[in-house]
């Protein structure tokens, strides 16, 4: 943001009383560049401090490898084929966990939001199940599915499900009653017509926000779900840490950050397209 020229400044064109001076494009541009520069500077300082800490001997490099050691570790990991292997496995878990968790969560949330009776019916069951973290399901996941990709996917589904369930439930319950009356007044009286023409579009913003939260939550669950031995990036991180190969651990942390960033950017682009009607 540019700050407007103080009106009392000598030589400044006097604006009409009560009117803000519109920021000119000429002034706005450097400001946006400044913001970008500050963001970049933040990253540089962060990396510099990180680099300095092990190099100055404040922490042993084996406990915290400097960032300059990471590219080399990354190349070695890719060359060995382990990186691609782990990523492909994890992406498969991520994809299915996200898909199943989101679809079932949104469907359950929308249905519950549309029916008072269903909400009452499920309220205590939801209260019982919701606080149980995904990781607490690991024993059952192993008993039911073994140490398999299905077990990992199951853990991810659970985490993603609740986020989407509550987002969709809240969104549907918050739909303006007046809009439902409008649907009645113009002949759209069936539940299905109201769902399609009013409820889903009206709730779409909050549902998409839930979906986006799920994108991040699913990555967290991927690591957790693979820690118990299902092949993937979580498992590879555990192996690396037991060998004190901390640089490899960081390679995977960075990989996750990168994938999350890409997925999130793609999601935001799609969302902005869908929500272009918003003011």
């Amino acid at each position: 943001m540019t700050s407007p020229t103080p009106p009392d400044q000598p030589g400044a064109a006097l604006p009409a009383p009560g009117k803000r001076i519109p920021p000119s494009a000429f002034l706005a541009k450097p400001s946006r560049r400044h913001r970008g520069l500050w963001a970049l500077l933040g990253v540089i300082v962060f990396l510099a401090v990180w680099e300095a800490v092990p190099r100055l001997g404040l922490v042993r490099p084996v406990l915290l490898p400097p960032p300059s050691a990471i590219p080399q570790a990354f190349v070695a990991e890719v060359r060995s084929g382990q990186w691609t292997d782990a990523i492909v496995h994890s992406l498969v878990h991520y994809f299915w966990g996200l898909l199943i968790g989101s679809v079932t969560g949104i469907a359950a949330g929308v249905l519950t939001g549309m029916s008072r009776r269903l909400e009452d019916f499920t309220s205590w069951v939801v209260r019982l199940l919701r606080p149980i973290p995904g990781l607490a399901w690991v024993p059952f996941a192993i008993i039911w599915f073994g140490v398999t990709p299905t077990a990992a996917t199951f853990i991810i589904v659970l985490g993603v499900f609740w986020i989407n369930y509550f987002a969709a439930l809240g969104a549907v319950q918050a739909v303006d009653r007046d809009l439902l009356e409008l649907a009645d007044a113009f002949g759209h009286r069936s539940t299905l017509a109201k769902l399609v023409k009013i409820v889903l579009p009206a709730a779409s913003g909050a549902i998409l926000a839930g979906l986006r939260t799920g994108l991040g939550q699913a990555w967290m669950s991927v690591v957790a779900a693979e820690l118990f031995g299902v092949p993937g990036l979580g498992q590879r991180m555990m192996q690396a840490s037991s060998l004190l190969a901390t640089d490899i651990v960081i390679v995977y942390m960075a990989t996750m950050a990168l994938f999350y960033g890409l997925v999130d950017m793609g999601f935001v682009a799609v969302r902005d397209r869908l929500m272009r009607w918003k003011a």
Binding site: D178, F186, G187, K197, W277, A279
Partner: protein, 256 residues
Amino acid sequence: MIEIRDLSLAFPNPASPDGRTVVLRDFNLSVAPGEFIAIVGASGVGKSTLLRVVAGLVPPNSGTVSHAQGGGPLTGRRPYGLVFQDARLLPWRTVRANVAFGLEGLGLSRAERRRRAEEALALVGLADKAGRWPHQLSGGQRQRVAIARALAVDPDLLMMDEPFGALDAITRQSLQDELLDLWRRTAKTILFVTHDIDEAVYLADRVILLAGSPATVRSEDHIATPRPRARDDSAARALVTRIRDRLSDLMDGGGI
């Protein structure tokens, strides 16, 4: 054309001795085709509820609303068009798609819906705004879109629930004149609810005063003054004063 007979409506109310509050009692009204009827009354008297009963949104406790099809068969049409106080546009639909809202489910082709929506938009002078989003319009424009949406279904009866109540005075006056113009061109029958007596007297052929609890018809005035009417017409001013006096007498006398 529209016959409302002995209409009564009560809402459940646990606090009252008989467990309900009667909102409306023995309401009768016959509306001739092409007539412009205004229903006035204090806020909360039940005017809006009356419209909702007539539109079939709320079932009455007793009485009937019969609807002789004056405007021809109801294919590709709806019997009623409603305009609310808030424009109530769907923000995720373009202006054109908002106007086409009531046309969906009538068995019309997409092209036909589009044509009818654009016709209705042209009627309210917003043909060039068809592709806009509602948030890009002014309050007056939004309400005109709402009127276009109601007209697009080619209703026998256009019902308006304080449609200009939320607009500023200048926009309100220009929309009143636009509505009269629309009414003249489309020959629609209009049931117009307002708490603004000036507005009712300026617009309508007949002004019905609704007052009391439960609400009943307290007076009915025919206004023969041809249009265009002057806003400062002395006969109209006198009628506004009479209706206002009646309303305050009713309030003072505990009639409300």
